[in-house]
């Protein structure tokens, strides 16, 4: 028995005023989509029991580890800590019947089980909705496949960029008249995660009335199709979308313009950009005044959106001439001060240093046993009058003993036996 395997959760999990206080969730997901779903649910106060296996670690436990030479690198991932904050952690060998039995017993008193195995795996583990429904009719089971449980696509693995292609979004994305373009982040994952969280919450609402749970497949591909529904309708109207990059079909000019770096680097070297939209003729006038080109107002050449769209390239050059002389922050603030929508194109580092996010306590310090004080993002659903205390993600198997003896009725001797037989563990196999 290790010391950490006996740990009890901190006080942060016990706030009774949170929307999901008293809701227990078994989380069998890993990587991004599923953990992002349960991140939102744990932020709302749910008790989320994340179950990995001694031979089946969440893959991101070994990514983004600041110092891979530490004793337990798998407990030191930034990525893992961000998306698995406040969860309880178990490591159970679910290939073994005794391991499956633990999960089934947990399911007797749980409200939700969420998983993102390949379709079919959950059935082989004896944890299908039909099986769990027999022992707990109120349980809600949510699966997050890339595609669906339907042949022939049920056997195909799909990562975010695959699914983004198959869902149509990549076709619509792209520079003006360019090729299809993939998103910068694995966009299908957060969409699937949010959809998964929404599915859980909807099913909980419905259960208040019906008294029973249900099975929900939240397909990443299908949810992505829902984000291009307007394009699908337009296609049926005979409008084939051509890619327009950062421009708009309605207003002009609109684009991102090169800026000097915050460190004084020239615009050619800085890879720093400001986004600007001119949504009205009045804003165009304000822009001309701000960039010291009143001559453009007087000439009347670009007075309306039709003229501005026709001369978009030319206008982009004019705006760039002004933005290149200042930082993206200075440019955006100057334009916002005269009522023009504008923002720096924030990089991950820019997000970290952003004054608006800083003023809203978007970054929260949590204590991590090895990493010390680290920064994770605040809950984003601000229920006014309710607060959520945050803590680091669980170490592998950190709450094995707590869950087995406090939430279930295993004795300490039985837990010792499970540990010695490798059914539960707190180190990878």
């Amino acid at each position: 028995m290790t010391a950490t395997a006996n740990a009890k959760p901190g006080t942060a999990t016990a706030d009774p005023n949170l929307p999901l206080a008293g809701i227990r969730i078994i989380d069998l997901t890993m990587v991004w989509a599923g953990p992002f779903a349960t991140k939102h649910l744990v932020d709302l106060g749910a008790e989320v029991i994340k179950i990995e296996g001694p031979g089946r670690l969440d893959l991101v436990r070994t990514l983004t580890v600041p110092d891979p030479e530490v004793d337990e690198p798998y407990n030191n991932s930034r990525y893992f800590n961000e998306y698995n904050r406040n969860k309880l952690g178990m490591a159970i060998d679910m290939q073994k019947p005794a391991g499956q039995q633990i999960v089934r017993r947990l399911a007797e008193t749980s409200d939700v089980l969420i998983e993102n195995f390949r379709p079919g795996v959950i059935d082989r583990l004896g944890l299908s909705y039909d099986e769990l429904h027999k022992i707990n009719p109120r349980i809600i089971v949510v699966s997050l496949p890339g595609y669906s449980n339907i042949m022939p696509e049920r056997g195909i693995p799909g990562y975010g960029p695959n699914v983004e292609q198959m869902g149509g979004l990549a076709h619509f994305n792209g520079y003006q008249d360019g090729t299809p373009q993939k998103s910068g982040v694995s966009y299908g994952d957060p969409i699937a995660g949010l959809g998964g969280a929404a599915a859980v919450l909807m099913a909980l609402v419905q259960r208040e009335r019906t008294g029973v749970g249900q099975y929900i497949e939240a397909s990443q591909r299908n949810m992505l199709i829902g984000l291009v529904g307007d394009g699908v309708v337009a296609h049926q109207f005979g409008n084939e979308p051509h890619r327009i990059g950062n421009r708009s079909r309605i207003i002009a000019p609109q684009g991102v313009y090169p800026c000097a770096g915050d460190d004084g680097a020239s615009a050619d070297e800085a890879d720093s950009w400001v986004a600007v939209s001119i949504v009205s003729d009045e804003q165009w006038v304000s822009l001309c005044q701000t960039i010291d080109r009143k001559d453009l107002i007087e000439s009347g050449r670009y007075a309306d959106v039709v003229a501005r769209r026709a001369a978009h390239d030319e206008i982009d050059e004019i705006i760039s001439g002004w933005t290149r002389e200042r930082s993206s922050r200075a440019a955006a603030d100057a334009l916002q001060s005269v009522g023009i929508p504008s923002s720096p194109v924030l990089t991950p580092t820019g997000i970290r240093d952003d004054p608006q996010l800083g003023s809203r306590d978007f970054f929260r310090p949590v204590q991590h046993p090895e990493l010390g004080e680290m920064s994770i993002t605040a809950p984003t659903w601000h229920f006014h009058g309710v607060s959520r205390e945050l803590e680091a993600a669980p170490r592998l198997g950190e709450h094995n003993r707590y869950v087995l003896t406090s939430l279930l009725d295993y004795t300490d001797d039985e837990v010792d036996e499970l540990e010695s037989s490798g059914i539960v563990a707190s180190r990878p196999r």
Partner: protein
């Protein structure tokens, strides 16, 4: 028997953004009564298009028809006191308000947090703003482009050496729609326990900045950036993680370590698995081979191999591909809409495949189509009073539509 999960729930939408629009569309599909409050000139999205041939009339915008399916349109000119009183009536009988009205205008419309808490304590308010309701930028203006820029994800999209690229449409707000939906459901759950509504503040910037994959958590902790992960990598960063041109479009090969055996088998070179760590081989000989392998195949031929071997290959699906795929059809996603002016077309319907949750959609409403019905049903007004409230021009539209 599947039933409508949100039956009996009344939602009022006083918003123009896609986040509220898409979220309330899902609510409507799942059984809520969604009252979309529009000005006499209509929601701005009615003017966006694209439109079917021969139309450009405010009733047939593809964007409006999609994002506002299943709702009722109630025209209220909120510049008038009578209309504002009517909005207050609607809110008194509602469960959820979705709003993205600029903060500076909320008090005058009776939509401030303090007022709503006092006047309708059981109402849940989901308030969406670009930057949140506090802080130095709370009143900054935003568009779909600037929202994408402020959230961080855009900085990672696009080709190296080219400007950052915004995704299609308004993805900043599309992803926010799931937050709106989820937060509204959570608030309903809380109300079962407390019998009180919630005020939930959502900042589109924060919603994106919390979804920055690995790059966010590293940068937020001042860790050195990982090579290839801190800036734009275009359509691929390595031979096994790229989009490729094929005979009739584009294919995708996005392979992580566990899939390497299936990848090498799928491209007909199983013996090269042993060379997967040989950079010179992977970036030279193999890259050239994979480019050619894709170039001589159609998208479907690439996909057939993926199915046969179980490799994470894909292709860039067009709208036509989506609409004609038998597998997608079988998931039950499509709903046919019969619209009185735009005709018959199909839309993506339920976001989930649920064993016990039905999803049904009426067409998107004509402007003011339900004003008279809603105001008389919810406030007990007769036709003359409704006319007085909504104003003569809007009433004409109402009568024409009813």
């Amino acid at each position: 028997m599947p039933d409508l999960p949100l039956v009996g729930t009344v939602v009022v939408e006083v918003a123009t953004g896609t986040a509220s629009a898409l979220a309330s569309r899902m609510m409507a599909g799942y059984g809520a009564e969604v009252l979309k409050v529009e000005p006499p000139s209509g929601d701005p999205m009615r003017g966006v298009g694209p439109f079917p041939a021969g139309h450009a009339d405010g009733e047939t915008s593809a964007a409006f028809l999609y994002f506002h399916g299943g709702k009722s349109s109630v025209v209220l000119d909120l510049d008038t006191a009578a209309a504002r009183a009517e909005l207050a009536n609607l809110l008194a009988g509602a469960d959820i308000l979705l709003t993205d009205v600029p903060l500076s205008k909320r008090e005058s419309l009776g939509l401030s947090e303090a007022h709503l808490r006092e006047a309708v304590p059981r109402l849940t308010v989901i308030s969406v703003t670009p930057y949140g309701e506090t802080g130095p930028q709370a009143n900054y203006l935003a568009t779909d482009l600037t929202e994408a820029a402020s959230g961080g994800q855009m900085s990672l999209m696009g080709d190296p050496g080219k400007p950052p690229l915004k995704a299609y449409g308004n993805q900043a707000e599309c992803q926010s729609a799931f937050h709106v939906y989820g937060a509204a459901m959570a608030a309903l759950l809380l109300r079962f326990r407390t019998d009180k509504g919630s005020y939930v503040e959502l900042a589109v910037q924060e919603l994106q900045a919390s979804a920055m994959e690995a790059q966010g958590p590293m940068a937020y902790n001042r860790d050195p950036a990982m090579p290839g992960l801190s800036s734009r990598t275009g359509n691929g960063m390595r031979v096994t993680w790229s989009q490729y041109r094929c005979k009739d479009g584009y294919a995708g090969i996005f392979v992580n370590a566990p899939n390497l055996p299936s990848f090498f088998e799928a491209i007909g070179r199983p013996d090269d698995l042993s060379r997967a760590l040989d950079d010179e081989f992977m970036t030279g000989e193999l890259l050239a081979y994979v480019k050619e392998w894709c170039a001589v195949r159609t998208r479907n031929e690439v996909y057939e191999v993926a199915i046969a071997i179980g490799a994470p290959f894909s292709y860039v699906a067009t709208p036509d591909d989506l609409l004609t795929s038998p597998t997608i059809e079988q998931t039950g996603i499509w709903r046919e809409v019969q619209h009185p002016i735009a005709g018959t077309f199909r839309v993506p319907g339920p976001p989930f495949r649920a064993s016990n949750s039905a999803f049904e959609l009426r067409p998107a409403p004509l402007l003011g189509e339900h004003t008279a019905e809603v105001l008389s049903h919810r406030s007990g007004h007769d036709a003359a009073t409704v006319t007085a409230i909504v104003g003569q021009s809007a009433a004409t539209r109402v009568n024409a539509a009813v």
